[in-house]
């Protein structure tokens, strides 16, 4: 009989909501209780340093190019020995959508996402983070990585001294 089926369906629904009345709420009372985000959570962006304390960023503009909302801008400069750095580096967190494409694009692992999601400000101009706001003292998620140790461009060490890099070959002495 259809009506018995319908009444059964109604009572099933009522029983489910009755059970849920006594279930513990899933609400997190935000300012008092805070959820610990996962380490790979994508929130506030930082600029990390290499293990020797130097800036990792080489101002290659790849993050800026990858950014879908164009919130990253910088001016590149060259230090002594040809080492590149950002003269100024600016992230507009009012525009940032925390997609993480900049961190993926970064060849030197300089730009990284952190789990710190509480960056609300009263004034929107306070969300404009300059280089000194972005730069942190540590290495972030890749503690041992130093870009210049792996590349053979000969800026910080002579050519061929990079980690995992072979000595330069003297092509004239290479005999069969």
């Amino acid at each position: 009989m259809a009506i018995i089926k319908d009444i059964y369906a109604l009572l099933t629904g009522m029983w489910i909501t009755w059970k849920h009345i006594f279930r513990r709420p899933v609400t997190i009372q935000y300012p008092e209780e805070k959820r610990q985000p996962y380490p790979r959570y994508r929130a506030r962006i930082v600029l990390t340093r290499d293990p020797d304390g130097g800036e990792r960023c080489v101002a290659c503009q790849l993050c800026s190019a990858a950014c879908p909302v164009d919130c990253i801008s910088m001016q590149s400069a060259e230090g002594e020995g040809g080492r590149r750095y950002a003269e100024w580096f600016r992230i507009n967190f009012a525009r940032c959508i925390f997609c993480g494409l900049c961190a993926e694009a970064c060849p030197t692992l300089a730009i990284q996402m952190t789990p710190d999601f509480e960056i609300c400000k009263r004034d929107i101009m306070d969300l404009l983070y300059e280089k000194e706001d972005l730069l942190i003292d540590g290495c972030g998620k890749s503690p041992d990585y130093n870009f210049y140790r792996h590349t053979g461009i000969g800026v910080t060490q002579p050519r061929g001294n990079g980690a995992g890099e072979n000595r330069p070959v003297d092509v004239r002495s290479l005999m069969p």
Partner: protein, 330 residues
């Protein structure tokens, strides 16, 4: 008829008490509804104002009182201002005929815990509950807004579908108690509640009062998913508050009437009568909130189909069966 000043004073005191208790209960019904709905949905509900959020109704009241009293262009001024009162006042007037406790003796006077023991109490309830729909219809019509108008049309369509079955479901109650007077109906149930004799009438009445107080699954006149807020779309501030509190007064009053007609009113063992009555009212209120947390909204052709083709014939058959049963029993 000679009026004793003490009698008059006691009646006024009863009126003041009923007003105060009903309005406070209605305010806390809003709070209770938000809490229970939150629990049903695994949330916590309002808990910011006062301990456990208990001062939330007060905060809501302050908010509503300080809001702008807005009237849309082209609205019918007098009807627009009158409609919220027309929705709220009949709801609270119905409570005048409900006996909420056993008669007391104070200062040598017998005090019936009922504001007015009319001999046509049940008919007064039917009349006033129909008048309350005028508030919905006129409020929606006077707002000069298509959503409000659609809401009030649905309110009227709903009225003609449930009112008949509600009235018919109460006929067996009158047949059993042989009176329209609500105190007689309560006294007739001192032995056995009418829900035992009339389970079908009780179910029909329960469905009809869910439609009467415009609750899910019959909240067609306000249908917030479809009509913004239905008939009170254009209302703001305390005028909206009157519509809102009127609905919750309606829940309390109709719960009280369901208790009076089918659950023996204030009759009950061990506990004092007033506690029994309030307990039954709160049980109905909880049932309405629980149903709201569970069921979806009906379309209004479904409601009319249900009212006219199922509830009304069932109520008629129930009256016939009750009549035969009473004749056979003698």
């Amino acid at each position: 008829m000679i009026y004793d000043p003490i009698d008059i004073a006691l009646t006024l005191a009863k009126i003041a008490l009923v007003f105060f208790v009903i309005l406070t209960m209605a305010a806390y019904m809003v709070f209770a509804e938000r809490k229970v709905l939150a629990w049903v949905q695994d949330r916590k509900g309002p808990n910011r104002v006062g301990p456990f959020g208990l001062l939330q109704p007060l905060a809501d009241l302050i908010k509503l009182l300080t809001k702008e009293d807005f009237r849309p262009i082209g609205a019918d001024k007098w009807l627009f201002y009158l409609a919220p009162a027309m929705a709220a006042i009949p709801a609270i007037m119905i409570f005048a005929v409900i006996p909420f406790g056993a008669p007391l003796t104070l200062f040598g006077h017998t005090v019936t815990l009922q504001v007015a023991d009319l001999n046509v109490g049940l008919l007064l309830f039917m009349a006033l509950s129909s008048i309350a729909v005028y508030g919905v219809a006129l409020g929606g019509w006077a707002s000069n807004s298509k959503y409000a108008l659609l809401g009030s049309i649905r309110g009227l369509a709903q009225l003609i579908s449930y009112e008949l079955s509600m009235g018919l479901s109460l006929v067996p109650v009158v047949m059993l108690s042989r009176s329209f007077r609500l105190s007689d109906i309560v006294n007739a149930q001192s032995g056995c509640w009418f829900i035992v004799y009339q389970p079908l009438a009780f179910v029909i009445f329960l469905i009809s009062i869910a439609a009467e107080c415009k609750r899910i699954p019959f909240d067609l006149p306000e249908a917030e998913g479809e009509l913004v807020a239905g008939f009170h779309t254009e209302y703001s501030g305390m005028r909206f508050g009157l519509f809102f509190v009127g609905e919750y007064i309606n829940i309390i009053v109709l719960g009280g009437l369901a208790a009076t007609f089918f659950l023996g009113g204030w009759h009950g063992p061990w506990l004092p009568p007033v506690v029994w009555f309030v307990g039954k009212v709160l049980a109905f209120a909880f049932l309405f909130i629980w149903v709201r947390g569970t069921l979806p909204r009906l379309r209004y052709d479904q409601l009319m189909h249900f009212g006219w083709k199922i509830l009304t014939p069932l109520a008629l058959v129930n009256i016939l069966v009750t009549g035969w049963w009473m004749v056979l029993r003698g």
